[in-house]
């Protein structure tokens, strides 16, 4: 029995969820995020929970320190040592432009040209040495980079994924003179072919390694000073955790950990409620995150881009960001068409209703005018703005131009916003080979539950799930996440040219590597699990298909069968005449933590009746017109209670709209399960 705290840092708030397994107690806390050093907010959240750090068995931390550092380019000065002739690979990219139309834009490489040095060495695609490594040259390059002020260094050689000998030797030489541990070796971060993607991933690692190392070091120190005696765990983009003591070695793994932890919580919660297949929808202020969970497992991708031309090819929960959030601005374009987004009012000035000077109507403003949000209960408001004033702005910007009454104009904003968001969710699922109708919609974040029923109806999704604490989903993800390490190895050979025991051998090496890492972490896990998959394709194709392996090995014949079945499942095409290729072998080593009793999150209202939860009624607009609508207090709704839409469900940090014709039921874990009809 132990007490575990999950602390997630978001853009506005730092959230804490704390489980005391012995007493069955749950505590939550919400404090403002401290942007410059997130550690202050983390410590404040702990203080607010009222539990002494010394009493904690584990602290799991989700931080956006590295993501923000990358997006703002507040990163370390990095040097590169690479193969002679190829120092510009990181600057030239893959011959792209920021947008399909329009020929302007900017791109700045992660490592400036004067800090990119070349040494004599070359492997070929089979891993044969074409030119030996110039060891003296490596030493000279390291010295030169130090003189030019590099704090971290990347060693990135062509074809190191197939033969890392030169990279390893160069790393030995560099480490002898490098004054800190910030030496990143390309193949050790990701052992996958494609020189630009592998190089950028390694460069990202080097850029944020010092930043993360210092941040986590300071936070661990502060916690220790307050009596916390156990290992601090940090969330990674793959949805698993890693010890603070080693997290900086592969710092790149923490980029995009924020959205991942929400998805992990969604997978955990939805599975326990009997929904193994869900689409998650986390709607925030400027954008929304969408992810797919199949059989209780979040989809993992190794091909995400953080921004234009910045691929990060380590395994990460496959979260797709769409450019619509509560702050998306509605306007009428010169063709007289109503548009919503992608321009956003963001947090500053924010929607009109925030009273921070925002003057252009947003999705949040439309929700307010239509009675879907209660103006008294907005969290981020600086100065209250009368609803009438907001309605007037909507009338001016949209209604008058389209010949619509103000309410109809606000309704039009929601309709268009929902239509666009539904379209984007549909493309995300189709691009991953799925029909959204086969999933439930799991909505969280501040605004997700406001739109979930309407989106589900648009997508013909039959069920919506709203978790007990939609605004604390990411922090919950920290608490339920397992320890996890992912490994990828590129093979890229026709299947019939691969040895029958190759997969078994690669997998065995990957498991050994993962087990060694877990052993170094000193974290309490119940048991170790491993999950394996391979990427395959037909020869001549460039897209790969991921195929799960049932065990730790697979012969050629088995791989062939698995791939053909997966291909048929996906494309309904059989291609007997073309050879399959084995591209990559993936292994995830997962240290399972003890499951937590989620029902505790629903605490409160357990004994009452639905009537006790009814706190009032108000006029709310729906497609069918205005309706006098009951308002329920979320934490007073007892398990098993059922009610029909229209209804509004309110809680501290989220409002749920149950559309007319929908039926909601509170399940035993405190989730609202909504049956979406028509």
């Amino acid at each position: 029995m132990t007490t575990i705290a999950g602390i997630d840092v978001g853009g506005t708030f730092t959230d804490l969820v704390l489980f005391d397994e012995a007493s069955g107690e749950v505590r939550v806390a919400k404090v403002p995020t401290t942007v410059d050093n997130q550690a202050f907010g983390v410590l404040a959240a702990l203080a607010e929970s009222g539990v002494a750090p010394a009493a904690l068995g584990a602290v799991v931390h989700g931080t956006t320190t590295t993501t923000n550092a990358m997006l703002e380019r507040k990163v370390a000065r990095v040097g590169l040592i690479t193969t002679r002739g190829f120092r510009d690979v990181l600057e030239l990219g893959r011959r792209t432009r920021p947008k399909p139309y329009g020929l302007t834009g900017t791109f700045r490489p992660l490592v400036d040209r004067e800090l990119r040095l070349e040494v004599e060495e070359r492997m070929d695609a089979e891993g044969n040495v074409v030119r030996p490594l110039d060891e003296a040259g490596v030493a000279r390059a390291a010295k030169e980079l130090l003189e030019r002020g590099a704090e971290a260094v990347v060693i990135h050689f062509l074809h190191s994924y197939i033969n890392p000998a030169h990279e390893n030797r160069a790393a030995e030489i560099v480490r002898r003179v490098w004054p800190n541990p910030y030496v990143t070796v390309g193949h050790a971060i990701v052992s996958e072919y494609r020189e630009y993607e592998r190089g950028v991933t390694a460069a990202v690692n080097a850029c944020i390694q010092p930043v993360l190392h210092r941040y986590v070091g300071r936070l661990a120190g502060e916690l220790a000073a307050r009596g916390f005696a156990r290992e601090l765990l940090v969330m990674q983009g793959n949805g698993g955790t890693v010890s603070a003591s080693i997290v900086a070695e592969a710092a790149v793994n923490t980029v995009m950990s924020g959205p991942a932890s929400g998805v992990i919580a969604a997978a955990y919660t939805a599975s326990q409620s009997g929904f193994p297949n869900v689409i998650t929808y986390d709607m925030g202020g400027t954008s929304s995150d969408v992810a797919l969970i199949q059989n209780g497992l979040p989809q993992v991708s190794t091909e995400l881009e953080l921004e234009y031309a910045m691929p990060i090819h380590v395994p990460m929960v496959d979260v797709h960001t769409i450019g619509a959030g509560g702050g998306s601005i509605a306007f009428v374009d010169e063709a007289g068409m109503l548009q919503v987004g992608p321009e956003s009012a963001g947090a500053n000035p924010g929607p009109i209703c925030y009273g921070r000077g925002g003057a252009r109507p947003t999705i949040t403003d439309a929700n307010l005018v239509l009675g879907r949000l209660d103006p008294q209960k907005l969290l981020a408001v600086e100065r209250a703005v009368p609803v009438g004033a907001i309605r007037a702005r909507i009338d001016e910007a949209v209604g008058a131009r389209l010949g619509l009454a103000p309410d109809a104009a606000a309704a039009a904003i929601l309709r268009i916003a929902n239509d666009r968001m539904a379209g984007a969710i549909r493309m995300v699922s189709l691009a991953r080979g799925h029909d959204p109708r086969d999933f439930a919609l799991f909505a969280f974040g501040g605004a997700g539950p406001l739109h979930a029923c309407a989106l589900a109806r648009e997508l013909a999704i039959p069920r919506v799930l709203i978790p007990a604490r939609p605004g604390l989903t990411n922090a919950l993800g920290c608490v339920v996440a397992d320890v996890r390490h992912d490994f990828v190895r590129t093979v890229n050979r026709p299947l019939d040219a691969v040895a029958d025991d190759l997969v078994a051998n690669v997998v065995a090496e990957q498991i050994a590597e993962g087990e060694a890492l877990v052993a170094r972490e000193r974290v309490e896990v119940e048991r170790l699990e491993t999950v394996h998959r391979v990427d395959m394709q037909f020869q001549g194709q460039s897209h790969i298909l991921s195929v799960a392996l049932p065990g730790r090995a697979a012969t050629r014949a088995e791989l062939h069968r698995l791939f053909e079945a997966a291909y048929w499942q996906r494309f309904r095409v059989e291609l007997k005449e073309i050879r399959p290729v084995l591209v990559n072998v993936h292994t995830a080593v997962i240290g399972k933590r003890r499951p937590l009793p989620l029902a505790l999150l629903a605490a409160g209202g357990l004994a009452g009746s639905l009537e006790d939860a009814l706190v009032g009624r108000r006029r709310v607009w729906f497609e069918s017109g205005w309706a006098d609508t009951p308002v329920y207090r979320r934490d007073a709704i007892p398990p098993g209670a059922r009610f029909a839409g229209p209804a509004i469900v309110e809680q501290l940090d989220a409002t749920t709209v149950i559309e007319p014709g929908c039926e909601a039921e509170a399940d035993r874990l405190g989730n609202l399960v909504v049956a979406v009809n028509g």
Binding site: D88, R420, G540
Partner: protein, 583 residues
């Protein structure tokens, strides 16, 4: 028919777009040809039942296909009328005839009648770039064909699928005339499957909103797009703006080809007149009219990217048919260079004219060549024939907002390069270098982006090298006093002897052996604005990065950088004071 309400209109617009995006997605995910699946060289759209006009087009499609498929759909409609063909559900026409609304032969279109409520409701069409359609060189990019028959198999509109069944006889004709035929069946299935997905999604849209409402919405959307384009055009000052661009040569006759572009703006209309352009050429650099028109559409979309695309968008753009020039190719003029190269020169001519009118929206010329290089041979170690394609980017032009980016994709494309590590796995080559083409960014207050240098060594066997590139003779144009970008260069080192193609950027069947080297440098983008007005600090940084040498900084920018890399302000002032007179 009453006016359609604005919300339904916006929802239907998005719905039509979504149908096309889903077709794009289905096509690219199931395709075999890397040109389609990796280079995204394909497009899908919905076309009007009577006149073939564009209704909606996928946002993920290749830019050069903006507008082209309406011309091929029109050719199919014409064919159906002339021959009195019956149309059935499940029919799919295949067509790649360049003179019937096409581009080059490799762009193969599928056009399918879509029926709703028992009648023809619209056409669905898509284009995919096939890796080969026969002809004298693998891949179809011949540098010196003189008639279209040498370029490959030409298909007039014929039904490849009849009532949903693939016609085995027509298929056998196609497969007997193209290379790497065994993989094409995968592409054919993918291309047809994408249209089938479009059918299902469009039927669902019509079920939901009603065919009449959608019809009215389509008419309204066309009018609105025209209105939006007019509103943009109205921001351009009235007047006549002249621009031009040059193609190095046609690959056969070593003389430059000129594109003359006169753009007349009055009120809310633009008129494009290409009179004075070079006459039809012997080599494959002729452009069919469909490609010429869509190059202008594409250029305008690059200038006004926010305007949605349907037939209405093009309405305010009047294009005078450039009869008697190489931009209006007639049978049997060879045309394989039109989609990849001439189209980009046409766009460059449009940019160079408009930059005089609305400099704040424009940019200096981008590298604007696809840089096609092919190396074909047999790998003795694997006993296998191969054709390796290298498609290159170059620098973009500087603009009002800043410097141009380096190694950008061709104006007409959106594809990525194939990684070196992948090329070296597939082909018996070793890349010796892949680097920034130093000095190639055209000087300007905002300089151009840089091109690429690459060197490929053949490791085994013999091979033949062909290329269709451009801007070998003159670099991409600068704007508003900016200098032109660096030129494209090709050099082959055979048995230790250097060889430079006579036409600089175009050649065919150069034999090379093991150990020989292919060296290519691609163009940089044009500079924007007076180079002497560039912030000297930025020039010093550029020198520190090795983008320019110290003497280039002095000559091109009037900036003196000391040997230790620091900026010499006094000498810079002197250099800039004694500037040469402006050209």
């Amino acid at each position: 028919m009453g006016a359609i309400d604005p919300v339904t209109l916006a929802v239907i617009q998005n719905g039509l777009q979504q149908v096309c995006n889903e077709m794009d997605l289905a096509f690219v995910r199931a395709a075999f040809s890397p040109v389609i699946s990796e280079a995204l060289d394909r497009s899908d759209g919905i076309y009007h039942r009577d006149n073939g006009e564009l209704i909606a087009q996928g946002e993920l499609g290749l830019p050069v296909f903006v507008g082209t498929m309406q011309f091929s759909t029109q050719a199919v409609i014409e064919r159906v009328r002339t021959l009195g063909l019956a149309l059935d559900e499940g029919d799919v026409f295949i067509v790649n005839d360049p003179y019937l609304g096409g581009t080059h032969l490799m762009d193969v279109k599928f056009v399918k009648p879509f029926f709703y409520g028992g009648r023809l409701w619209c056409w669905l069409a898509n284009t995919g770039h096939w890796p080969d359609t026969g002809g004298m060189v693998p891949g179809g990019f011949s540098a010196n064909a003189t008639e279209v028959e040498q370029e490959g198999l030409r298909l007039p509109p014929v039904k490849l699928f009849k009532k949903g069944v693939l016609d085995a006889e027509i298929l056998s004709i196609i497969l007997s005339n193209i290379r790497i035929a065994d993989q094409r069946i995968g592409d054919i299935k993918a291309q047809a499957a994408a249209l089938a997905i479009g059918e299902r999604r469009l039927a669902a849209l019509l079920d939901r909103y009603g065919a009449d409402t959608v019809d009215r919405a389509i008419a309204e959307l066309k009018a609105r797009a025209a209105q939006q384009m007019r509103a943009r055009i109205a921001t351009i000052p009235d007047g006549t703006y002249a621009g031009q661009a040059f193609v190095d040569s046609d690959g056969v006759v070593d003389e430059p080809l000129r594109i003359a572009m006169r753009i007349e703006k009055s009120g809310d209309r633009l008129r494009f007149d290409m009179a004075g352009s070079s006459p039809p050429c012997r080599g494959p650099m002729n452009s069919v009219i469909a490609t010429t028109k869509s190059s202008i559409y594409l250029a305008m979309k690059h200038v006004f990217p926010e305007v949605p695309i349907n037939a209405g968008t093009f309405e305010p753009l009047e294009i005078v048919p450039p009869e008697g020039t190489f931009l209006y190719a007639q049978y049997p003029r060879p045309v394989s260079g039109c989609a990849a190269e001439v189209s980009q020169r046409i766009a460059e001519a449009v940019f160079s004219a408009l930059v005089r009118a609305i400099p704040e929206r424009l940019f200096a010329a981008p590298a604007g060549t696809s840089g096609n290089l092919s190396v074909g041979g047999t790998d003795p170690q694997r006993g296998r024939a191969y054709v390796m394609y290298v498609i290159s980017g170059g620098g973009y032009g500087g603009s009002a907002s800043g410097d141009g980016i380096s190694n950008g994709c061709s104006t007409i494309g959106i594809s990525k390069t194939t990684p070196i590590e992948v090329m070296e796995q597939y082909y018996p080559v070793l890349f010796e270098e892949y680097s920034l083409h130093e000095g190639s960014g055209g000087a300007g207050e905002h300089r151009g982006g840089f091109g690429v240098n690459y060197k490929i060594r053949l490791r085994r066997g013999e091979a033949r090298v062909s290329m269709v590139m451009d801007h070998g003779r003159a670099g991409p144009q600068g704007a508003l006093g900016g200098a032109e970008g660096g030129v494209n260069r090709v050099r082959i080192v055979r048995g230790g002897q250097g060889y430079v193609p006579a036409h600089l950027s175009k050649d065919q069947d150069i034999r090379i052996g093991a150990g020989d080297l292919i060296e290519v440098s691609t163009p940089g983008g044009g500079g924007y604005g007076d180079p002497f007005a560039r912030d000297p600090e930025l020039v010093a940084i550029d020198v520190g990065r090795g983008y320019y040498t110290r003497s280039e900084a002095a000559e091109r920018f009037g900036v003196a950088v000391a040997e230790d890399g620091t900026l010499d302000l006094a000498r810079t002032a002197a250099l800039r004071a004694g500037r040469r007179p402006q050209a």
